[in-house]
């Protein structure tokens, strides 16, 4: 286990060291001490390493992540795992607004609650939230899965494209063109898998599925150029 004290060594040193890890590094386990809400911790990683942050993080933790596993033993500030490509990010506490925004792949697990705009414009990422998500979550979501074990706030899935949204609790309101859909056997299968990946003991049968009604302007072929 390699340990970096962020307060003593600074953010540039931390991220440069993590970036320097090659595909076949044998230093696979890293621990970051004293994050104290700092920004951009463990951003832009691209190696199969495991980074554990001992405390809460500020803006953009684990942004653009590829391959790496990042565990935050605390809460995460705005934009955690933004534009993630692959790998896994696990937040033990809560996540602030736009968690997993624009993510192309990988898995983001939030064990507490996520704030507003969780999964905004998601493009293939899987997001599993043990608690609730705030308003405008999955806004313009294009692909991937958002699983919410608690409740969803206002305007869930507004202007959604093809992402799947699974919510166990209540949905305060659905956004434009987002509707409840049948939970077919293949969806239960996908959801079972996601719940297992996210370490949730919830049952797939307890969830409802939401997705696009495909009625907005851009879904009408007559509006195509």
């Amino acid at each position: 286990m390699q340990t970096i004290d962020l307060e003593a060594e600074g953010l540039r040193h931390l991220n440069a060291t993590l970036h320097a890890q090659a595909e076949n590094t044998n230093q696979t386990a890293w621990e970051v001490l004293n994050p104290r809400g700092s920004h951009a911790i463990a951003c832009g990683l691209d190696a199969p390493i495991e980074v554990t942050v001992k405390g809460s993080t500020g803006y953009y933790c684990a942004g653009m992540n590829k391959q790496a596993t990042v565990n935050v033993h605390g809460s995460a500030g705005p934009g955690v795992a933004e534009n993630m490509m692959s790998g896994t990010v696990v937040i033990e506490g809560d996540a602030s607004q736009y968690a997993g925004a624009t993510g192309h792949g990988g898995t983001l697990v939030i064990k507490g609650n996520a704030s507003s705009r969780c999964g905004i414009s998601m493009k293939g990422i899987d997001i599993v939230v043990h608690g609730n998500v705030g308003h405008m979550s999955a806004f313009m979501a294009q692909s991937g899965n958002l699983v919410v074990c608690g409740d969803a706030g206002d305007a869930l899935g507004d202007s959604i494209y093809e992402a799947r949204l699974f919510v166990r609790g209540s949905v305060k309101s659905l956004g434009a063109d987002c509707i409840e859909k049948d939970m077919r056997p293949e969806h239960l299968e996908i959801l079972r898998d996601l719940l297992e990946k996210g370490g949730c003991d919830a049952k797939p049968e307890e969830f409802k599925r939401y997705g696009s009604a495909r009625q907005l302007y851009n879904f009408n072929i007559d509006n195509a150029y």
Partner: protein
Amino acid sequence: MCGIVGLFLKDKSLESKLGEMLTDMLITMTDRGPDSAGIAIYGQNSQGTAKLTVQSDASEEAFEGLDARLTDMLGAPVSMSVKDTHAVLEMPADKIESARSALSEMDGNIRVMSMGDIIEIYKGVGLPKDVAARFEIAQMSGSHGIGHTRMATESAVTTMGAHPFNTGSDQCLVHNGSLSNHNSLRRKLRREGVRIDTENDSEVAAAYLTWKMQNGATLGEALEDSLDDLDGFFTFVVGTKDGFGVVRDPIACKPAVMAETDDYVAFGSEYRALVNLPGIENARVWEPEPATVYFWNH
């Protein structure tokens, strides 16, 4: 972008450290607002007195003998303590309005930063650490306080444009965001006789709350109404003589984190502003919900 910090103490034994804790929080928020900064401190006063905190760019001449001049003019004792470009004038509470008009007629371009029984507001252009040091904020004690680091969007970088804004006795407001209907609302409030000194959007929000409260609303009700009448982005933190409130607009894209323990309620634009507070590891930490009014009273 701007930075907000706020601290409302429940444990009286922490009051001597209010300025120190708030200064530390404020400096952490420097990169959210490096152009100017301000702090409101709710401290102590003597029985029956009130305070005017005033500022002048030519403070040496303007404050020379100011207490004696005011004492003469008002026929009541006025004491003064000068801190850099600011001075706190303490006088019998019933003389405060006449003192304010007397000041506006004097030479030296003396501007009123705050008025109230216990509030003192210090603000200025420059890095938060320099502003805090200039006014020795870290040495101040009090029951609650609010600080702001400004990155200007809607009006010039000046002392008058810095937050907090005080538009009614012991009231103050700081703002992160921008309002789009402040010009029409300013005209409306001025027609109603509300005093607004600057072209700053946030001062209009402060004046709006004051106007609502003058018309019988509680601070909580005034904040509720602001959600209907103010158009734009905002996270507000407001202070009154014995209270501390928070509200965010319904979109809530301006950040806000709160922490509460048995000893205090704290506000920060980011969590890192709160990390040095005592017992933060075990505090309840949460983000205030959009369009929801939070309020604490002593």
